[in-house]
Structure formats: structure tokens, C-alpha cells
């Protein structure tokens, strides 16, 4: 999987070309809106663009945010959602839905909702994306705390290498589940960030950037642009940083865990045709 022709040091854990990005945060409905500086004054609600009407009604807010980011990546990369696999990463998953189930058990003592139970699984969103897109191929859902961005990228790069085709990966966590956390714990807002991966190309190839996944190393990294503690506390902040770095055309190493995981990096190099204002800012 290694062998992308990068100027920055890669260590061969996995390589691919990023051909599309997607994003949802409470103030930016898309990566395009964020790149254009179109910040919403009001807190946004995710729409769930990747879902058909029936599944959009069923899916949680977390799932809808994933759906918005995934759809933007699909459309931006020009990929066929009927055949392109989707990999979902979330450190905590459907926590709000689970808390609702716990409340029905211990607080309100009501019958558990079967509909809520079926969408409490970690792969609810990935399953409903496959149903909405009529995609009968591969999908998966995984978790690795603050290393989730690295894990989805490596799983994605592995699938790209095995299949020779594109993959969309999305990382998302809903706002911190305060009712389960201790006083003084860091709180965060929801983030969903996606990238579309394709087989690695040379520097003249099409796409936005080449990436090469790398293990922990004490090396300088691209400075993340996002400083809002309500976003940087989210376990998926590293994926937001990646989408930001691609939009800026940044090159160099980017640490994917905001210092809270095992230290995995991605070596990033923008491709010739990609835009951005921050080339070489490693």
C-alpha cells in the first residue's frame, strides 16, 4: 500500500488519493461552506442528505450529520453511491439513542421502543446509507476512541488496495453525552467529516491530495486551523483537521488525534490540480 511519491516522510501503513471531502459542524453545513467562510449565526441541524425520506426519519442526529458529510464527499468526487463502499467511524456511536433506552428502562419505566432499539446499534447509519443508496456491497462501522480517524483511513486504504476502487470514509461523534460523563470532563459539539479515497496516483494525477498513513513520530505537524474547544474536544477533530488541511492545500504531516490518541499521522501532499491557499505550510 505504500509507495506514494511524497516529499514528506511516509511509513507505508497505507496510501491513497483523496478525491472528495465532506463536513458538517453546528456552524458549517458543508466543507464548501467552511472553505468559503460561510459561518451560520444560528446552530444548524443536520439534514441527512445521503438518506432516502424513510430512513431520514428514522436516523439519529448523528446519522444525519454523517449523511450530510458523506453526500458531499460522494458528489464532490463524482462517485457512484450504488457501488462505492462507505466506512463509518465513531468513538461513541449512538449515545443519545442509548441514553433514551436507559431512560425508558430506569427512569420512566416504559416499554422499550423497538424502533429505537434497532437504530441504537453502532452501524445504524452505515446500514441506512446502504439501504438508501441500494448499495449491496461492503459497508462497515468501527471505533477506536481518538484514533478513530486513523482507523477509518487505514481501513479505507486497505479496502482501496484490495478492491482497486474508491471508498468513502466518514468520522462523526455527536455532542458529548454529558449525562454519562464526570463533572469537569471536556465537552464537545458534534462533528461529521468525510473523505473519498481512491487508488494512489502520482503528483500529476487527479484528485485533491495524496495521503500516506504513518505511525506515531515526534515530528512537526501541520498546525490545525480549528481552535474552538467545543470542536477540538470531539474525538473526530483530527478528521476535521484533515478536511481543513486539504481545503487549505497544506502539505506535510498532520497528527490525526489532537494529542489524545496513539499519535498516528498522515503525510499529506496536495495534487497539482487542487486549490488551496496554504501550500507548503508544514
Amino acid at each position: 500500500m505504500s509507495g506514494s511519491d511524497l516529499n514528506t516522510p511516509g511509513d507505508g501503513l497505507g496510501a491513497a488519493t483523496i478525491v472528495g471531502v465532506g463536513l458538517w459542524t453546528p456552524r458549517f453545513a458543508s466543507a464548501a461552506a467552511r472553505a468559503a467562510g460561510e459561518r451560520s449565526d444560528e446552530e444548524l441541524k443536520p439534514v441527512g442528505l445521503a438518506f432516502d425520506r424513510r430512513n431520514r426519519r428514522r436516523v439519529s442526529g448523528l446519522g444525519r450529520a454523517m449523511g450530510d458529510a458523506v453526500e458531499e464527499a460522494f458528489v464532490g468526487a463524482g462517485l457512484d453511491p450504488v457501488t462505492t463502499p462507505v466506512i463509518v467511524g465513531s468513538a461513541i456511536g449512538e449515545a443519545s439513542t442509548m441514553i433514551g433506552l436507559l431512560d425508558s428502562m430506569w427512569r420512566t419505566r416504559e416499554e422499550m421502543s423497538p424502533a429505537a432499539f434497532t437504530v441504537s446499534v453502532h452501524n445504524a447509519a452505515s446500514g441506512m446509507i446502504s439501504i438508501s443508496k441500494k448499495n449491496v456491497g461492503f459497508t462497515t462501522s468501527l471505533a477506536a476512541d481518538h484514533d478513530t480517524p486513523f482507523a477509518v483511513l487505514l481501513e479505507g486504504a486497505g479496502l482501496v488496495a484490495a478492491s482497486g476502487g474508491p471508498v468513502v470514509v466518514v468520522c462523526a461523534d455527536e455532542a458529548s453525552p454529558r449525562s454519562l460523563m464526570a463533572e469537569g470532563d471536556t465537552n464537545w459539539d458534534m462533528i461529521a467529516a468525510a473523505v473519498a479515497l481512491a487508488p494512489a496516483t502520482g503528483q500529476d494525477g487527479s484528485g485533491l491530495a495524496n495521503l500516506d498513513l504513518a505511525p506515531a513520530a515526534d515530528l512537526p505537524t501541520i498546525a490545525p486551523s480549528e481552535q474552538d474547544p467545543l470542536l477540538t474536544g470531539n474525538p473526530q477533530a483530527g478528521m476535521l483537521d484533515l478536511v481543513d488541511a486539504i481545503a487549505r492545500g497544506a502539505s506535510g504531516r498532520l497528527r490525526l488525534d489532537r494529542g489524545k490518541g496513539r499519535g498516528y499521522h498522515v503525510a499529506l501532499q496536495p495534487l497539482a490540480g487542487a486549490g488551496g491557499s496554504d501550500r507548503g505550510a508544514s
Binding site: G14, V121, M128, V136, S141, A161, A162, A182, P215
Partner: protein, 387 residues
């Protein structure tokens, strides 16, 4: 993709701990199901572990949950092949790719109940170290002495099956040389109440493929396997097929289309013909919809004569751990030359057009397909082969 060497596996379920206790239970046709050890207000048989779990050592106490203690037992029972693998490959070249559906939900639901009833969480409850999916990964890496990439796959009842496929890809790509794969899940009230809300639970012991089947039982347990690029294999992981139904969040495609595609994909990856398969360990939960859809799919892909068994009546449906436990049962069939009886199957449902028999069957089982299907319409078929 080349087959991977399975150089060891560990196993816990309602039948006990380790290979010998499972062989004894399976051969005797003895169910491990019984009364629920977690609080519920309805009748159903449940597959709880029949032994006490050892506590974690002091340094891992903050991560101590039932799930992580089960994972610790499974890691300890892999100690010998792990020691050999650490010598052969570097620790950073050994990954930990596991599956679970519940993660720390059992610990959280107990803590949440105490918070609701008494206003505070119990001392020692730590959301980050106990609830999250990554918590038991930390425990396994620490106890196994490995440092490769690690994550939890959580695709409901296919979770642990998909871990085998991820390891295959990472090894094929040269990222790692070996991996601990498999999965683990615990009983919890939330899961039992959830399946009760779906009216899916059998009040007694489940009877997959029987005309008199009446639903599923839930169990807990897990299995880990050490897969390596090559080596002294007990069995081989020959192939994995992964598909989606794209049909319904919780109901299988009525014709088993996704299951059929998963088995076909596994055969293609292994370069095998349908006649090369000697046995199927079915998903076989005991619900009317699942059993009929799966039987149709098996008949269509592998024919009607291949011996089919569901082992859910021995262990209960262990959800995210089911695929790994049934991988181990498939490995036992390959190694031992017999397959367990289909408990409670008589009278077989006339709509089930595959061979499901209530007695132990002996023979040479060189290649076994193990199926797992999940909420989300997720399907996995593993092929386990003789070395």
C-alpha cells in the same frame, strides 16, 4: 488473497472456557442456556458464562468491566501462540482488530440505574475508560504485548466476523504480519429488553430451523484467533465474503439475497466450488424470517445436501461475538472430524430445504462456511479450511 494461518484461538461462552469444555458440551448436545443473570421481567433462556471472571491487575483496574475482563481471559488463553508471534514479528506488526456490539453498555446501564435511583454514579465508573469501544482494545494490547493498529468493528451481529476480513486486507497490504481478531460481547438488560420489544425472544431454549421454533436466545461470550501471514496453522482462514442486503434495518431479505452474495463472494475469493464446502455453521437464530431466508441462500449457493448446523441453542446468540465463536466451532469441526447436533430441530420446518440433523455427524470436514448476519442488513461468510 492468500489464506491466513490461524495459529491459535481462544473461546468462552455459556458452554465454558476453552476448547475441551466446548467439545464436551457440543458432543453431549448440552445447552448452556438457563435463567438470566441480569435483571429482566420476562421469561427467556439466556447464555451466561458458567464461571467467574478473574479481576484485572491493579494497573488495568480503571478499565475493568465485564467486557474487558472477558477480553482479558481470551487474551490469556492465547498466550502461547502470542509469545511465538511476538518473537517472530515485532509487536508493532501485530494488530488487534476485534468486534463488539455492546462495548461497555453493561457497565454503563448499571451505573446509570444507580445514578437515576441515588443521584450519583457508583465510585469508579469512568465513561471514557469503561463505556467506549476503545477501552477493551487498550486492555488487550497491554496484556498481549502488541502494539500494531487496533480498532473495534461494531456492525451488530457481524462485528467479529468482519474483523477477520480487515486483518486479511491489512496483512495482504503489508501493514501488519499478524493480528488478534475475533470479538466479545456481554449480556445486558438493555439488549434483552430490546429483543423482547421486537417480540423476538424464545421463552425457552431456541430451536433453529425447527417447525416449532419460536425466536432467539441471547448469550454472552467471545472468541479470539491469532491469524498470521504464514506459520504453523491449526486451521486456515481461507476467505471472507462481506455484503449488504440494502433491504431493511432489522429484517433479512426474504430470499436471502445478501447472504447468498456473501457466501458466493467468499467462494470466489477462496477459488472454491460449491461442492468443496463440507459443512455450514449457520447464523440460524431461530426466528422464522432469518432461518428461512438463510436456508434458501445456502440451498441456492451450496446445495441441499451440505450438513447445516446452528449452534445458537448451545450458546445463545452472542451478538457481536457470534461470528468469532462460530468461527471457533467451524475450526473444531475441521480439527475434530465431527459436527454437533442441531438441538431441538425435530420436527424440521418443511420450508427449510437444507440438511439439518439432530445428531452428531462424523466425517472429514475440510472446508466449513460460517455465516453471520446483522441489523443494518450486514452479512459475513467466513471459510475455514484444513491446513
Amino acid at each position: 488473497m492468500r489464506p491466513l494461518a490461524v495459529t491459535g484461538y481462544s473461546l468462552i461462552s455459556a458452554l465454558g472456557r476453552g476448547r475441551e469444555q466446548h467439545l464436551a458440551g457440543l458432543a453431549a448436545g448440552r445447552t448452556g442456556l438457563g435463567p438470566s443473570p441480569v435483571p429482566i421481567e420476562f421469561e427467556t433462556a439466556v447464555g451466561g458464562l458458567p464461571f467467574e471472571l478473574p479481576e484485572l491487575g491493579d494497573e488495568l483496574q480503571p478499565w475493568s468491566t465485564r467486557l474487558s475482563r472477558m477480553a482479558a481471559v481470551l487474551t490469556a488463553d492465547l498466550a502461547e501462540p502470542l509469545a511465538r508471534a511476538r518473537e517472530r514479528w515485532r509487536p508493532e506488526r501485530i494488530g488487534v482488530i476485534l468486534g463488539t456490539s455492546t462495548a461497555g453498555a453493561e457497565t454503563t446501564e448499571v451505573a446509570y440505574r444507580e445514578m437515576v435511583e441515588h443521584g450519583t454514579f457508583p465510585g469508579g465508573y469512568d465513561f471514557h475508560r469503561q463505556h467506549t469501544f476503545g477501552a477493551s482494545l487498550y486492555v488487550v494490547r497491554a496484556l498481549a504485548g502488541v502494539d500494531g493498529p487496533s480498532w473495534m468493528i461494531s456492525t451488530a451481529c457481524t462485528s467479529s466476523g468482519k474483523s477477520f476480513a480487515t486483518a486479511q486486507r491489512l496483512i495482504a497490504a503489508g501493514v501488519i504480519d499478524a493480528a488478534i481478531v475475533g470479538g466479545v460481547d456481554t449480556l445486558c438488560s438493555m439488549t434483552l429488553q430490546g429483543f423482547q420489544s421486537l417480540q423476538a425472544l424464545d421463552s425457552g431454549v431456541c430451536r433453529p430451523f425447527s417447525a416449532e421454533r419460536n425466536g432467539i436466545n441471547i448469550g454472552e461470550g467471545g472468541a479470539f484467533a491469532l491469524v498470521e501471514r504464514d506459520g504453523d496453522a491449526r486451521v486456515l482462514l481461507e476467505a471472507v465474503g462481506e455484503t449488504s442486503d440494502a433491504y431493511h434495518i432489522s429484517a433479512p431479505h426474504p430470499e436471502g439475497a445478501g447472504a447468498r452474495a456473501a457466501m458466493t463472494a467468499a467462494l470466489v475469493q477462496a477459488g472454491l466450488e460449491p461442492g468443496d464446502v463440507d459443512h455450514v455453521n449457520a447464523h440460524g437464530t431461530g426466528t422464522a424470517l432469518n432461518d428461512i431466508a438463510e436456508a434458501k441462500a445456502i440451498a441456492a449457493v451450496l446445495g441441499r445436501e451440505v450438513p447445516v448446523v446452528s449452534t445458537k441453542a448451545f450458546t445463545g446468540h452472542t451478538l457481536g461475538a457470534a461470528a468469532a465463536i462460530e468461527f471457533a466451532f467451524a475450526a473444531l469441526a475441521v480439527e475434530e472430524g465431527w459436527i454437533p447436533p442441531a438441538l431441538g430441530v425435530d420436527p424440521v420446518d418443511p420450508e427449510i430445504e437444507v440438511s439439518v440433523r439432530p445428531e452428531v455427524q462424523r466425517g472429514e470436514f475440510r472446508r466449513v462456511v460460517s455465516n453471520s448476519f446483522a441489523f443494518g442488513g450486514n452479512n459475513v461468510s467466513l471459510i475455514v479450511g484444513a491446513p
